[in-house]
């Protein structure tokens, strides 16, 4: 029963192919525009608003939502929760692709992308939190590549090398958790340097803690969400274990995410109290803040709790999507919406159509590569030669 390389009838003009084809072609045009005309032509960025959705969405959301890699592998290999084993490979693959796309997106955003290795190899700005982010993302991308590589090696038939790499699993997992703790939190800490620009409801000395804790349930929710997508569109690639036990993964993570989100809700309240920012709650910014905190943290946390208690998969999947949207809302609030909140609206930033299209292009690229790999390599099933983990 070899599920590798089983690709169903090769129709060229499926809806998926046509839509992704158009987006990818558009992306190529945008790429040419970006590297011939500059950021000024493609984006709405200006000197007062130097960071837009390429940082707010592509980088901040991308990294947070790719947290499924470290969360799942840690659950399975460090905490010994073996029932998550079947979710490890898909999660590692998405994390790897997620980080790779984050780095790709940065090539569009920074002025001289070929200098991206500078902070690591050439001139280390060690007092910068962005340096920490850069170093950790570079190292973690390497770790993820190695963690993902056994799947590719099984596909290619590099048996010896694959068996050797598999022995590194625990070490890589621990290393991955350390690196993730550091850069997930540092992404929040990036904004600690701007108390004068970020709205007090979002600015906090706990920003790094908030980013790290929220990355956990972001990762879990993405694993559940992707699982539901894979069940819908890639069921034929799944082996029996996967088909039978993946709802267990969803309920397990639903329960865990619910708990972590409740904890997150309370540390957000603690931050609000310590900053004594209650009075801001009665402004329009306060309503927006409450929408994020109650509508997109507490509410999905309750959905998760009910869903996992009643073993209701639909509810759990709904909560997962809701949470993912909540994470996006939070990251965009901090980097774009509540950033420069004190400025009049004429000086505020709104993404241009081409910026949004570029982000869509990069996400689409990720989906296409994911589909390519999943339909060929042992991700949603075990390779027959390497069973019994």
């Amino acid at each position: 029963m070899d599920l590798d390389n089983q690709i169903p009838e090769n129709k060229k003009f499926t809806v998926f192919n046509v839509v992704t084809g158009i987006i990818l072609a558009g992306g190529l045009v945008l790429t040419v525009l970006r590297f011939t005309m500059g950021l000024g032509t493609v984006t709405n960025l200006d000197n007062t608003n130097p960071w837009g959705i390429w940082i707010g969405f592509d980088l901040l959301c991308g990294v947070a939502l790719a947290a499924g890699g470290y969360v799942t592998s840690a659950s399975c290999y460090i905490f010994g929760l073996k029932r998550f084993h079947l979710a490890v490979r898909p999660a590692i693959l998405t994390a790897f692709l997620g980080y790779a796309l984050v780095v790709l997106a940065l090539h569009y955003d920074v002025g001289r992308p070929w200098r991206l290795p500078y902070p690591v190899f050439y001139s280390q700005g060690t007092s910068s939190l962005l340096f920490e982010v850069g170093l950790c993302v570079f190292l973690y991308l390497t770790v993820l590549l190695i963690e993902y590589s056994p799947a590719a090696m099984e596909w290619l038939g590099f048996k010896k090398l694959r068996n050797w790499v598999v022995k590194l699993t625990l070490l890589l997992t621990i290393f991955g958790v350390i690196l993730s703790t550091l850069h997930q939190s540092s992404l929040g800490a990036l904004f600690m340097i701007v108390p004068s620009k970020l709205h007090p409801l979002w600015y906090s000395s706990y920003l790094p803690v908030y980013f790290f804790i929220s990355s956990m349930f972001a990762g879990m929710s993405m694993v559940i969400f992707e699982g539901s997508l894979a069940h819908r569109y890639l069921k034929y690639k799944m082996d029996e274990t996967h088909l039978k036990e993946s709802s267990g993964v969803a309920f397990g993570f639903a329960k865990a995410a619910s708990l972590v989100m409740m904890g997150y809700f309370f540390i957000k309240i603690i931050g609000l109290s310590i900053g004594n920012n209650w009075h801001y709650l009665f402004t329009s910014w306060g309503l927006w803040f409450l929408l994020e905190l109650i509508g997109f943290v507490l509410f999905p946390a309750i959905l998760y709790a009910v869903g996992s208690r009643e073993k209701n998969l639909v509810l759990v999947r709904l909560a997962a999507i809701w949470t993912v949207l909540g994470i996006m809302l939070n990251r965009l609030n901090i980097s774009v919406v509540a950033f420069n909140w004190h400025l009049p609206s004429a000086q505020r930033y709104y993404p241009s159509f081409m910026e949004i299209a570029t982000s869509v292009f990069i996400v689409t690229l990720g989906i296409v590569v994911y589909k390519f790999i999943v339909t060929r390599m042992p991700i949603l099933h075990e390779h027959p030669d390497y069973k019994a983990h």
Partner: protein, 368 residues
């Protein structure tokens, strides 16, 4: 294998530790020391009460930095009607505030004592020189624009129209001219001495003596003495600074201090996490092991129990069988005995009969 793996893990940890400790020296220092600026460093004092908004400084800046000519000439003061900020080709701008009593304020890089841009830059493209200026090295810059995000004064600008080699631009306090012993372009051009160049310490004294000598003319505050940890550029004003476009809510904490907390967490996480995670792993492993052992024990116990039960049952069965047998034997014996005794009785009776007969026969014989 186990030892070599452990060794590898150890050396890897040591390597990470070494890099990150090196990383943190600066942040740690920032959190524990109060840096008052390089001694003897230079700065500029801008007395806004003297500024007439002639834009001569802008013109001089444009010239000494070889910047492109603006659309409207520097003599056109209509430009002042709109509030401006620094741009990629404008390192300094003069803004006008108030309607009746006009106040003019020159804006440019304030050359912080502990600059946010330098602290935020991940390739060390910004340097605070001991002489005072904060300078930028385009040969290192990646173009991430975190410096622009970090700057509390919104100063650095970016060449958004350059596709491949955009630079961040800002006032250099004319560092190259200072090296030649010349004054900064703007200071030299100012016709009213609204800008004076000198040692920062001296400028502070001058500013304070002006406030003391003309208390009606000045607000009792030297902007830049403590803002964001202090700046090399200092300001005097007759109007509250907030009303002339200068933020009063920046606080006195320098940018590096704002981020020293999370930076100092790095080595602790690197040091603690491997221990904690390996511990968790060991606990979960041990739990598994114990569970396995318990399962095996339980199996064995069950087996043992089963055996015992079986033996007991056999024993019972045997006993039962023995009992039944004995009962049967007893019964048989009893039966046999009874039969025997019956026979014996019968025999006795017979004997007695025969005796009787014999006796009577004997009697009969005797009678005969």
């Amino acid at each position: 294998m186990l030892i070599s793996r452990r060794k590898f893990l150890g050396s890897l940890g040591a390597a990470i530790g070494a890099t990150t400790t090196g990383t943190l020296t600066k942040a740690y220092g920032a959190a524990n020391k109060h840096f008052k600026g390089y001694p003897g460093s230079s700065g500029v004092l801008h007395d806004t009460t003297l500024c007439i908004g002639c834009r001569k400084c802008e013109q001089a800046c444009n010239k000494v930095n070889d910047l492109p000519q603006p659309e409207k000439p520097f003599e056109d003061l209509g430009v002042l009607d709109k509030k401006r900020r620094t741009q990629a080709d404008e390192f300094t701008v003069v803004n006008q505030f108030g309607t009746q009593e006009k106040v003019f304020v020159k804006k440019q890089c304030n050359h912080c004592l502990e600059p946010a841009c330098a602290s935020a830059c991940f390739v060390k493209a910004f340097t605070k020189t001991p002489e005072g200026p904060v300078v930028y090295d385009a040969s290192l810059c990646v173009g991430c624009r975190y410096c622009m995000v970090a700057c509390p004064f919104d100063i650095p600008a970016y060449e958004y129209d350059k596709a491949l080699a955009p630079r961040v631009t800002k006032c250099t306090m004319c560092a190259p001219r200072l090296e030649e012993g010349k004054l900064p372009g703007c200071v030299k051009a100012c016709p009213r001495e609204a800008l004076i160049f000198g040692k920062r310490d001296t400028l502070l004294k001058i500013a304070k003596s002006r406030i003391q000598n003309f208390p009606d003319r000045y607000i009792d505050h030297v902007y830049g003495e403590h803002e964001m940890g202090g700046t090399s550029w200092l300001y005097l004003s007759g109007k509250p600074f907030e009303t002339i476009g200068m933020r009063e809510d920046l606080g006195t904490t320098s940018a590096p201090e704002l981020t020293s907390g999370p930076l100092s967490a790095v080595p602790i996480i690197v040091g603690l996490w491997p221990v904690l995670l390996t511990g968790v792993y060991a606990i979960s492993k041990r739990k598994d092991k114990i569970a396995k052992e318990e399962k095996e024990d339980a199996l064995k116990a069950a087996e043992l129990q089963a055996n015992e039960d079986m033996n007991q049952k056999l024993e019972e069965l045997r006993e039962k069988i023995t009992k039944e047998k004995t009962a049967a034997i007893n019964f048989e014996v009893k039966k046999a005995l009874e039969e025997v005794s019956k026979e014996a009785e019968a025999a006795k009776e017979k004997e007695a009969e025969t005796q009787d007969i014999e006796e009577s026969e004997e009697k009969g014989k005797q009678e005969e």
